[in-house]
């Protein structure tokens, strides 16, 4: 598509932006004792329309379309209250009286009937983590996600390090990440899970295996969606964290309504991360004499600094006649990063570094019509400039000493250095339409279309590739069309969602020979259809089951097609991954949701998995290699045994085995049925939080928190080869984290001290890459509204 076509395409989206008439609701929210409740959320169920109470406990919601609604009033620590209302042309006054919950469940565990709980109750059964109450701690977003059932995060190091998400047997790029429903790869790396600050996040949703069409994605094994803060109030939220390894993190979020009716707003969010990541590496080679003899010892990482900044500004309107929510979003992120090593940590890199800068602009619009039709659309543009510099002709040792080598670049011996400097431009647009046919049937339609083009140069790399193929533009276009029909029956005890997903892709990508020399550009085109059905049945309010099947497809993404400019070369001939996913789950709630037990079994049959395949010593390409079968079960228990104490436990067992050999014969047929090596198969998380209220000051509290992560040992190579005791393995790990915090009344100020890995256990991931040992973080937070 050329730019003219895109302009026409984007204009098409704007035709949905027009006006409509609305009405208002006002009222108060009080405690049972008649005390006004400040900051309570009052909102219309299944809409984006809402407000919050002021210090007098009053609220005002204007421009509500005519129709029947459920109006909810909620605040953490209080039971939610719902009222059926009917909006006509007369203003309504609806008062609420909220009762304090006897035991307030930690939001990780999910409080009663919060928005996250409602989401969990959909047929897709996503795992939902509300971060509202976790924002006093310094736990990173990715570590929070890693505590969820069925999720295993595999990191390459400390702050900002590369990380891989494994979700119910599928990992890596098979899991797509979104921010506010927009794919991260269209927003830029500033929003990636290993960078984004938990303070700008409202909640994280994890869809496992079966993905709603609303995301417009080709995720193979699931979706992680980050919902950022969107409070209906003026506020300032700021924090600063100082920690081990010279780690500094700071952030601020400000929202200001520009008129008294709260229709027009301006919001800015931003955060800064820095860490030297110079934690100790144990059992590495340390030079002990001038002959470069080495002994095993410990050394600090020395080329792993990470600094990032992200700033985002939003200006928009809420609850106006022509939009429930309209906003223009501009964001800028900048990351500078050093690379300490490649996929393994055995030989360090001393000078490899690089960075990227993203500029992003989005226009988003949402509108509900007559309570039956909801439409949302967005348009976006992203410019990513990235570079990597790897030209040092040196071999480093872990103590920082080095010797010369005859070729440039540390990332491979047989390369001649890399200096890719690339611009990536992305244009994207999405439209979602939800139409409620009647009380029991609704239809969802989503289209997401994106165009990406990369262009730049790699002057040093040209010596390797024999031609600088980045100087000519390479591009791909992806388009997704999804349609789903949701049906309810048996008094809404049964919910069924059938979906069809059509994927289109066209690409123009450089082709390299196996010796990494450039040959030509190759054009490819794909047309694929996926489909699925999910079903949920509630036997009673406390017992429900869900069953889902989906034939999912994943198109190759930017890194896989274009390469990463350093260790991954382009591959224009990649085929889409395909997977048959089945989930079967059961959930039981008791004691007024103070005890929740859930379990899900899953099955995945995944073909043409794109696997990073080493072509030469320094260069890899993604290739369609693996056909695997994954079976597993995960279970979760959440409980509030006594007042102010919450507990959670989750565990996952999975058996990911080889189902068939690859087309090249890379893997021997005798491994069929064997566990895929270097993938954990048993892992668990446990956590508890205890609040001590009213310490020193009324409505203050001390929060004590403890959690642990357990991963059972797993082998680096095929399990059936070799005596177990002799095999290289990633050992069993049991990492403990704890924190203590003091929160002033109304969460206005908080101070929190966190110790991660307090037993200082050696922690590993992937190819025995060591992760940080014991570390401390002190976080100060201020929240004013």
């Amino acid at each position: 598509m050329n730019h003219k076509t895109y302009s026409t395409f984007f204009i098409f989206y704007f035709i949905f932006f027009y006006c409509h008439c609305q009405n208002s609701i006002t009222g108060t929210v009080l405690t049972e004792n008649g005390v006004p409740i400040q900051n309570a959320s009052v909102y219309l169920e299944n809409t984006n329309i809402g407000s919050s109470t002021n210090k007098e406990g009053t609220y005002h919601i204007s421009n509500v379309p005519v129709g029947d609604y459920t109006l909810n009033a909620s605040l953490i620590g209080y039971s939610i209250q719902k009222k059926k209302i009917s909006i006509s042309n007369t203003p309504l006054v609806i008062p609420f009286i909220l009762s304090q919950e006897q035991n307030e469940l930690n939001e990780v565990v999910v409080s009663s009937k919060s928005s996250s709980q409602k989401l969990k109750e959909t047929a897709y059964k996503p795992e939902v983590v509300s971060l509202q109450k976790m924002q006093i701690t310094s736990t990173s977003t990715i570590d929070i996600v890693g505590q969820l059932s069925g999720v295993r995060i595999r990191k390459q190091g400390g702050v900002g390090s590369e990380s891989t998400i494994m979700l119910n047997g599928i990992s890596g790029k098979g899991i797509r990440t979104f921010v506010d429903g927009i794919p991260i790869d269209l927003l830029g790396s500033g929003f990636s899970l290993n960078n984004i600050s938990s303070n700008i996040i409202k909640q994280v949703e994890v869809y496992k295996g079966l993905v709603p069409v609303k995301f417009g994605t080709d995720a193979l094994g699931g979706v992680i969606n980050i919902e950022t803060q969107n409070r209906y109030k003026n506020y300032i939220d700021a924090f600063y964290t100082i920690g081990s390894w010279n780690t500094h993190q700071a952030g601020i979020g400000i929202k200001r309504y520009l008129d008294k009716n709260k229709k027009q707003f301006f919001q800015v969010d931003g955060f800064f991360n820095h860490s030297d990541n110079d934690y100790w590496m144990h059992d590495v080679d340390i030079v002990v004499d001038e002959l470069l003899n080495t002994e095993k010892g410990k050394a600090k990482r020395f080329n792993d600094k990470y600094t990032s900044f992200l700033g985002r500004a939003q200006y928009g309107f809420q609850n106006v006649s022509w939009a429930d929510d309209f906003r223009v979003i501009l964001s800028l992120s900048d990351i500078t990063k050093e690379w300490q090593h490649g996929i393994r940590a055995v030989s360090p890199w001393g000078e490899v570094h690089g960075g990227n800068r993203d500029f992003n602009s989005i226009i988003s619009w949402k509108k509900r019509y007559n309570n039956n039709l909801k439409i949302s659309g967005l348009l976006g543009y992203n410019l990513l400039k990235w570079e990597i510099i790897d030209i040092a002709p040196k071999n480093y040792f872990w103590d920082g000493t080095y010797t010369d080598k005859p070729t440039k670049g540390e990332s491979g011996f047989d390369i001649e250095g890399r200096t890719p400097k690339i611009n990536t431009e992305s244009f994207f647009g999405r439209i979602n339409v939800n139409y409620k046919l009647n009380d029991n049937h609704s239809v969802d339609f989503t289209n997401l279309t994106s165009y990406r083009e990369i262009k730049g140069h790699d002057k040093a790399g040209a010596a390797t590739y024999k031609e600088d193929f980045y100087t000519n533009p390479q591009n791909f276009t992806k388009s997704f069309f999804g349609l789903s029909v949701e049906s309810k029956a048996f008094n809404k005890k049964l919910t069924n969602i059938f979906s069809l997903k059509y994927h289109y892709m066209k690409s123009h990508i450089a082709n390299l020979k196996e010796d990494n020399t450039f040959t030509n550009y190759i054009d490819n085109q794909y047309n694929l259809l996926g489909y699925g059905d999910v079903l949920k049945f509630s036997f009673s309010p406390n017992i429900s089951t869900h069953l889902g099947y989906e034939y999912t497809l994943r198109l190759p993404d930017s890194d896989e097609l274009f390469g990463d400019g350093i260790t991954v070369s382009p591959n224009p001939n990649l085929n889409p991954e395909k997977s048959h996913n089945i989930n079967l789950g059961l959930e039981y709630k008791a004691l007024q949701n103070k005890l929740i037990i859930a379990t899900t079994g899953f099955y995945r049959d995944t073909k043409d998995q794109m696997f990073l395949n080493a072509v030469t010593r320094g260069v890899s390409i993604y290739d369609n290699l693996l056909h695997t079968e994954a079976k597993g079960v995960e279970g979760t228990i959440t409980a509030i045994p006594i007042k102010n104490l919450t507990l959670f436990f989750n565990a996952t067992w999975q058996d990911i085995t080889l189902k068939d050999t690859d087309k090249y014969g890379n893997i021997e047929a005798r491994h069929i049925g064997s566990k895929i090596p270097n993938i954990p198969y048993l892992f668990a998380n446990t956590g508890t939080t205890y609040n001590i209220p009213n310490v020193g000051i009324d409505n203050s509290r001390i929060e004590l928190s403890y959690n642990n992560n357990y991963v059972h040992e797993f082998f680096l190579a095929w399990e059936e080869d070799g005596i177990a005791a002799s095999k290289a393995k990633i050992p069993t790990q049991f990492i403990h984290n704890a924190s203590i915090g003091y929160v002033f009344p109304n969460d206005k100020y908080s101070i929190n001290l966190e110790c991660r890995n307090f037993t200082d256990q050696l922690a590993y991931d992937n190819y025995l890459v060591q992760k940080p040992g014991r570390s401390f973080f002190l976080k100060l937070r201020m929240y004013i509204n």
């Binding site: 080679d285 470069l292 070729t407 196996e514 395949n613 890379n666």
Partner: protein, 429 residues
């Protein structure tokens, strides 16, 4: 209740009685099982991971006479997910991890014939090190393309003791006008070495471009070092450098760790050196046939009178010959790549498909005889074990890995070991 208890007691007693009268009582008690004799052989297998990496497994075997189907359940994993050459010296095994982490590790069998790691040396300063040469229990040599030094290490204690510094005769930057006018040597890699008499002969591979393995010189080049002047504990030893010798009939010398430690330089019974100049690094055929060149014992120059064109003698010009597995009396075995068997649509075909056949060559008669019609993955299944008049030759196809026992004289053969991975046989000390 009482009755139930009584019944339970009776049943229990009956059970004990029956158990005590089980069929075991009827068996003749065997004498104490004799302590198992120590195994005399070892089987190494290389198992491919998901990438170009391999894991290596070593297990002992009692004989080579009975047909065996061996998995790796009782084998020791000595290398996980990388690439390596394996050598046996003085009863110990040495893994030369030349990719990551650039290290040599020593493995020994204990009294219980269990393999244990006995030490390692780090060789990051050499980068992509070549084959190791073990001179004696206390001295071994290894080189690599980084820097201009050959490391000397003690294989007993696994410590580096010194270097041979050849920077004074380094050829980096030397204009060779190959492959194009003005081109020069950018990489000089000591790929393999051998001792004959008082000299250490270091075979080099000169590259113009490492990425594509493009040679920088269409010659076979060797650096000759005077062993009598080597002080193993010196970091210099530059005074021991004798000279470069070159032969324009071949290109490059040594196997540079190919085939899990195959060697392309051997000495015969007269201590003459024969070396295979294969002219085919990285599947880049420079247009000369693979050949055998000779350096006579005690000499410091190539023997201008000896040249053996292996391609003409075997499958024909254009079909490269790899490996030099010397059986004695002038006989060696090598693989001939059938270039018509390479799948042009598969970029990995050269490395992974069975495209080679084993041949028996005679250094004296300069003849070649095909061992059999079976194809093998020649680039990895490359190391042959010889005993009496038998050659134990590894084969690897798409579906099977096995050792074939071949009569060196008659070439009669039979499959003797089926293995779980590319196999190689060793004799234990």
């Amino acid at each position: 209740m009482l009755r139930s208890k009584t019944n339970l007691i009776i049943i229990s007693f009956l059970s004990i009685l029956l158990y005590s009268c089980s069929s075991d009582d009827d068996k003749i008690i065997e004498p104490t099982k004799p302590v198992k004799e120590k195994d005399t052989y070892a089987l190494l297998t290389a198992v491919k991971g998901g990438t170009f990496n391999y894991s290596l497994y070593l297990q002992t075997m009692d004989n080579l006479t009975k047909t065996k189907d061996l998995d790796n359940k009782n084998a020791t994993e000595i290398v996980a997910e990388t690439v390596t050459g394996v050598y046996q010296y003085d009863g110990n095994f040495y893994t030369n991890l030349y990719f990551t982490p650039e290290r040599i590790e020593k493995w020994s069998l204990n009294e219980k014939q269990e393999l244990t790691k006995q030490g390692s040396i780090s060789l990051g300063e050499l980068g992509y090190q070549g084959n190791v040469y073990f001179k004696d229990k206390n001295t071994a040599f290894v080189g690599g393309p980084a820097g201009t030094k050959i490391a000397i290490f003690n294989p007993e204690t696994m410590t580096k003791t010194g270097y041979i510094d050849y920077s004074s005769v380094s050829r980096i930057g030397e204009v060779t006008n190959y492959p194009n006018q003005g081109d020069k040597i950018n990489i000089q890699a000591p790929s393999e070495m051998i001792v004959s008499g008082n000299y250490l002969y270091i075979g080099f591979c000169f590259l113009n471009d490492f990425q594509t393995y493009t040679p920088a010189s269409p010659t076979a080049d060797i650096l000759v070092v005077d062993l009598t002047k080597i002080d193993p504990s010196s970091a210099d030893n530059s005074n021991a450098i004798v000279k470069w010798i070159s032969n324009d009939k071949g290109n490059s010398v040594g196997s540079w760790n190919s085939g899990f430690g195959a060697k392309f330089m051997i000495t015969d019974e007269k201590n003459d050196i024969y070396l295979l100049s294969h002219n085919y690094w990285g599947a880049v055929n420079i247009g000369k046939p693979a050949c055998i060149l000779r350096i006579k014992s005690g000499q410091t120059d190539f023997d201008a009178d000896y040249y053996f064109d292996l391609e003409t003698a075997s499958r024909g010009i254009g079909n490269p010959v790899m490996n030099l597995e010397y059986a004695g009396n002038g006989i060696f075995f090598a693989t001939s790549n059938d270039i018509t068997a390479i799948n042009p649509d598969d970029p990995y075909s050269y490395y992974q498909d069975p495209i080679a056949q084993w041949y028996k060559f005679d250094l004296h008669d300069k003849t070649a005889t095909k061992v059999n019609d079976e194809y093998t993955q020649g680039s990895y299944a490359s190391c042959v074990y010889f005993e009496d008049d038998k050659a134990y030759i590894p084969f690897k196809t798409k579906t099977k890995s096995y050792i074939k026992e071949v009569n060196i004289n008659t070439l009669e053969s039979k499959d003797i070991i089926t293995a779980a991975g590319i196999p190689r046989v060793f004799k234990l000390k």
